[in-house]
């Protein structure tokens, strides 16, 4: 019906429109698609050298990934790290984002900028900051010992606990940003309408604010999850070589043991993890929209 009023797009115009896509498409193909395909090819090579020369194919790397329980453990660690970081970051960011969206304060803009200001510092620096806090002779442990609450240091860093804490803090600004952009349907008038209809504050929250903010929450969770499972620097530094996730293992295989096919196969595993989570996210969003 409305098509009758749409301006006519003839073939020439359609061609011009497609032409506009070319620069972006070209950049994506060259910087994203081709490297991924190359990685996929490398995962079937028998060694780093063979991966470059393009001879000698085998499924050896995949056999190793699938049969060695160590890699199953690494994949599991990665998943757990991603899920817990996403869950904690979302729970902590939700009230902040909700406040920033709803506040009538004239400082709203400044407060929002402050909430995402940590992004101005490199995550490496922030990871070192957490090491200072969480290390065996860090601020927390020396305080606890000075107060004679513990006799020796508690392992806070060099553990997945430390990696989780640091990643949550590092990724929270992203969660807040994603929620701020996803809270578009929140509207003070809807809350007022619900209150007039007899909903107390708790029910206004559970029936109006929460369901309307879910798209933003889901997007934030997805973003933090993806960033957490692909993290390398933070788990490596704060984990002190004791935290094994796909990111650290890919780096290890690629640069230390120089087993490129294995590194590529592990990357593919990470990619599968990504895609399945994105599929779940899409389904969840559609279920929300109905």
């Amino acid at each position: 019906m409305s098509a009758g009023f749409a301006p006519p797009v003839d073939k020439v115009q359609r061609g011009l429109l497609l032409l506009l896509l070319v620069p972006g498409l070209f950049a994506l193909v060259v910087t994203f698609l081709l490297p991924i395909l190359w990685l996929f090819r490398a995962s079937f090579a028998t060694s780093a050298v063979k991966a470059l020369s393009g001879t000698d194919w085998s499924l050896e790397a995949y056999r190793e990934v699938l049969l060695d329980t160590f890699y199953w453990q690494v994949a599991w660690n990665t998943l757990i790290l991603g899920v817990s970081v996403a869950a904690i970051a979302v729970i902590l960011s939700f009230p902040i984002a909700l406040f920033l969206v709803r506040t009538q304060s004239r400082w709203q803009g400044v407060l929002t900028a402050l909430a995402v200001a940590p992004l101005l510092t490199s995550s490496v620096v922030r990871t070192y900051g957490w090491m200072v806090l969480l290390g065996d002779r860090g601020v927390i442990n020396s305080t606890l010992q000075a107060m004679s609450l513990t006799s020796g240091p508690i392992r806070l860093a060099n553990s997945s606990f430390g990696a989780t804490v640091a990643l949550v803090e590092i990724l929270m600004p992203y969660a807040i940003l994603a929620m701020l952009s996803g809270f578009g349907r929140l509207n003070a008038q809807l809350e007022e309408a619900a209150a007039v209809l007899g909903a107390n504050r708790f029910r206004v929250f559970s029936r109006i604010i929460l369901p309307l903010s879910l798209p933003g929450v889901l997007t934030a969770a997805l973003l933090v999850f993806v960033l957490a499972i692909s993290a390398y620097v933070t788990p490596r530094l704060i984990g002190g070589g004791r935290v094994f996730v796909l990111g650290t293992e890919v780096f290890n295989e690629a640069t230390v043991t120089l087993n490129w096919p294995l590194a590529a196969a592990l990357s593919m595993l990470l990619l599968v993890l990504f895609s399945s989570v994105i599929v779940i996210y899409q389904r969840a969003l559609r279920a929300l929209d109905r």
């Binding site: 008038q189 809807l190 309408a193 209809l197 007899g198 909903a199 107390n200 029936r207």
Partner: protein, 356 residues
Amino acid sequence: MTDPHVQIDRLVKTYAGASKPSVDNISVSLPRGEMLALLGPSGCGKTTVLRMIAGLIAPTSGAILINGRDISAVPVYKRNMGMVFQAYALFPHMSIAENISFGLEMRGIPKAETEVRVRRALDLVKLSGLGERRVGQLSGGQQQRAAIARSLVIEPELLLLDEPLSNLDAKLRDEMRDEIRDIQERTGVTTIFVTHDQDEALSMADRLAVLSQGRLEQIGTPREIFDRPQTDFVASFIGAGNIVVGNVVEPGVADIQGLGRLQFVGGGRAGIPIRLMVRPHRFVLTNVACNGVNHFSGIVEHIVYRGEIVTLTARSGQAILQADLPTHAGKLPEKGSRVTLAVAPEDVTVIGDGSQ
């Protein structure tokens, strides 16, 4: 007289940091089943009054009594008010039926009864069969009907409408105006609506309360407001008017500075100053070219053809008179031509008690 259903008693709202109150000592009472319009320009405090009645903002002082009981301390969710917001505020994540049943669910009404009541509410607003639609699938007029159904299904103490027609296009507006009035009469719900549109207020309401700068200027039936405005503000805000000042020369006759004698219905002692108003459409064109009592001859300075009427301004003496005259197929006055305008004494309105 029976006890009023709703009594608003010396209501005041001063926002924090504001130098003067947004709502200043307003008192109104409504009998059960009445439809009252709060009319005024934007910023006059009418919406603030409505929101205080709903419980969305707390009054600074004064009381809101329903059946004689002060509800100003009752929290919003316990007040049992039906409110239709200007932008409808339908919940976008629920179907229309879910929107309508929300208030019933909050009241713990059993499912079977809820279904019956939702269906009846949908029928009332002529949305039968559209309960499963999403909010976005409804037109503006349908969304408003849904919002009304959602407010009425809880059998509210009062129905509150905030600028009910402002989001609709002109044609739908006329339709919804009759529709809202019809629904209100059928349900008998006491209703207060806020509007800045005088046509809307005059045509829908049993009585109008005209507000200006937080103060109640006048309250009365549409005819009282239109024909017996108590203040200059009411006289000029409701319809156009030629407001003139003069002195009473004998009861029922005033001498208007720069215009001449104007006869009006009403008394007044000789010598006192008086303010009078003539509505532009109450002037008639006469063929008698003369100056006399209530006959004013003048030169047309400006004329606008508007189809059914022509609006002209004519200079008579030192006064400028505005007149709306019905059109006909023959010769109409032109710019620069001489016309004589006449007005019947009963169509000359005394503003307030006449004093300046």
